[in-house]
């Protein structure tokens, strides 16, 4: 018997736990060339801003061991064109749309949420808080618990459907941030965005990324994000969406055992844009082999002893 693979985040029901990660699938429609995107649990848009953004100067991407660095600088067509041009296309393709938003000012997050709340095709909102906060001298929104709380609180007021907060991993105790998001009414948290990294071309002696540092993604970050998913799962009871280095169905299962309800596939799409369909087959077969009725029974099923974990209390 086929196991039930549905997943719920807030009121939103996904047909399976596989989502695309923001910024790694264009606006979702490009993937249609390679597979039927309606098979996905959800398509998450590139981070949208109020006005279109041209993004950073090149070079924007560089390969490193088992990963890549990027510094795209939120290049995107802006929320209006997204609604006018992309949503109809995604509706046509039968994709369930989650809009990811980013801003440099708190007010802009709220405006974006209001605009997107008005469009019923936008079934969920994911807040990207890994952006420099202009008021606070460029410190990322997501690295200060108070700022995070205030944004989530304000956005929660204007966006009635599923609200997911995407956490930055570049903090000492990510559990505190997850807890704050939960307290302010988020329906879920995505763990995690990219890690601050850097690479240098030793011939030119210049950084390989124009902005010097960039965000690390890919298999290299999987163990790091795995630990954070586990830690967050001990801090909150809202669903966790895992994002970091998912390339195989085994990676999906591993994240679910660690505590994730759903996952986002990012960098893997660059090599194999049709990878989600293969992953679904893999996890269904695993769940069937384990005779699981519901795939979601995997979530948080790690067999471990609390006493073995150093300073478990801190998580």
């Amino acid at each position: 018997m086929k196991p039930d693979v549905k997943v719920k985040i807030g009121e939103l029901e996904l047909k399976n736990p596989l989502m695309t990660a923001s910024g790694t699938c264009g606006y979702g429609d490009e993937l249609g060339t390679y597979f039927d995107v309606s098979m996905l649990g959800a398509v998450v848009s590139k981070s949208l801003t109020l006005k279109p953004k041209i993004g950073n100067e090149p070079p924007r991407v560089a390969e490193v061991a088992c990963g890549m660095l990027n510094s795209i600088g939120l290049a995107n067509i802006g929320v209006s064109r997204f609604i006018d041009e992309k949503i109809p296309r995604l509706d046509e393709l039968g994709a369930l749309v989650v809009a990811n938003i980013a801003a440099k000012r708190v007010e802009d997050y709220v405006s974006l949420a209001e605009i997107l709340a008005a469009n019923k095709s936008v079934r969920g909102l994911e807040l990207n808080l890994s952006c420099p906060n202009v008021k606070e001298g460029g410190i990322e929104f997501g690295t200060d618990v108070k700022t995070l709380s205030s944004i989530v609180k304000l956005v929660r007021k204007v966006f009635p459907r599923t609200l997911i907060v995407k956490l930055t991993p570049n903090v000492t105790r990510i559990g505190d941030f997850a807890k704050a998001a939960e307290t302010e009414g988020a329906d879920g948290v995505t763990v995690a965005n990219t890690y601050v990294g850097m690479a240098i071309d030793i011939n030119s002696m210049m950084p390989k990324i124009h902005t010097v540092t960039g965000g690390l993604s890919g298999p290299a970050v999987k163990p790091l994000t795995m630990a954070r998913v586990f830690q967050v799962s001990k801090s909150v009871s809202i669903p966790i969406v895992a994002s970091g280095g998912i390339f195989t169905w085994q990676d999906v299962v591993e994240y679910m055992i660690a505590g994730a309800a759903a996952v986002e596939i990012g960098t893997a799409l660059f090599t194999k844009p049709d990878v989600p369909s293969g992953l679904l087959n893999g996890i269904e077969a695993y769940a069937a082999g384990r005779k699981l009725e519901k795939l979601s029974d995997l979530t948080g099923s790690l067999r471990f002893e609390r006493d073995n974990v150093p300073h478990m209390d801190r998580h």
């Binding site: 790694t24 490009e30 070079p59 924007r60 390969e63 890919g218 090599t271 844009p273 049709d274």
Partner: protein, 259 residues
């Protein structure tokens, strides 16, 4: 506008060393071969490993029946690894990607300048020119003779080497300038290292309809990552090299040259 693309598990037919550090590998890849046009590219990745992780971009060098070939200079982890593929070994290809060179009509006079691994486009352009009956001349530059790939099928190739060991003594832009004193093409195509393209844009861009195939780092090659910006000449905005290019009209783009 780019057309339909496929993700295809291609099978290595063979690999030949054709010049210093330079190889041509042929792959059985029926779906991509059937569609690819001159100037389009594929993203190649290795099954079953994450080293290297990202796919590599290669212009398609030639197409024959259900096979296509790639010409590459084995400089890094990806290209060295391709050069070591045994016949029968698999390589994952995503393509055809991007927009190729503009349609060629019968009788059109086209000059094509290529340098280094940019020579990859020579065979496929030569073949399509023959098919549509346009008149093509190639100008092919390299540092030295041993780096020049001897193309047998293609005719009408003038060589330039920096050290004068074969053909014109100097770079390919110098050779073009010399030839332009005698004749002028209807279109000029360029494919090669960025400094060569920059120089072509500067020298000929406003005088002759010039099309350049640009190279930028690419993570996906299909418009997913926004990693491959190339400056628009007429506004503060970027094209994506992979989707809007890699071939651009020279007047459309600006090269951001590093100091």
């Amino acid at each position: 506008m780019a057309g339909k693309s496929f993700l295809e598990t291609a099978v290595t037919v063979n690999t030949r060393k054709v010049a210093e550090q330079t190889f041509i590998s042929t792959f059985r890849s029926p779906r991509i071969s059937a569609l690819v046009e001159a100037g389009q590219f594929v993203m190649a990745s290795f099954p079953g490993t994450i080293d290297p992780l990202l796919p590599r971009a290669f212009s398609v060098c030639d197409v024959e029946d259900d096979t296509l070939s790639l010409l590459y200079v084995a400089v890094g982890r990806g290209t060295r690894k391709i050069s070591e593929l045994m016949p029968g070994a698999e390589l994952i290809l995503n393509g055809p990607l991007g927009n190729g060179f503009p349609e060629r009509e019968s009788g059109r006079k086209i000059w094509v300048a290529v340098g280094g691994s940019g020579a990859a486009i020579l065979p496929i352009l030569s073949r399509s020119a023959k098919r549509v009956g346009s008149e093509v001349r190639f100008f092919y530059g390299a540092r030295t003779m041993s780096q020049l790939v001897p193309f047998k099928e293609a005719t009408n190739i003038a060589h330039a080497t920096d050290d004068g060991s074969a053909g014109f003594h100097g770079n390919v832009v110098g050779l073009l300038k010399q030839e332009l004193r005698r004749d002028t093409p209807e279109m000029l195509f360029g494919c090669g290292p960025t400094p060569m393209l920059v120089s072509m844009q500067k020298e000929f861009g406003t005088k002759i309809p010039t099309y350049l195939s640009v190279e930028t780092p690419m993570a996906c090659g299909m418009g997913l990552c926004q990693g491959c910006p190339i400056k628009k000449s007429d506004s503060v905005d970027y094209y994506l090299a992979c989707k809007d290019g890699p071939v651009f009209r020279s007047t459309e783009i600006e090269f951001e040259v590093k100091p």
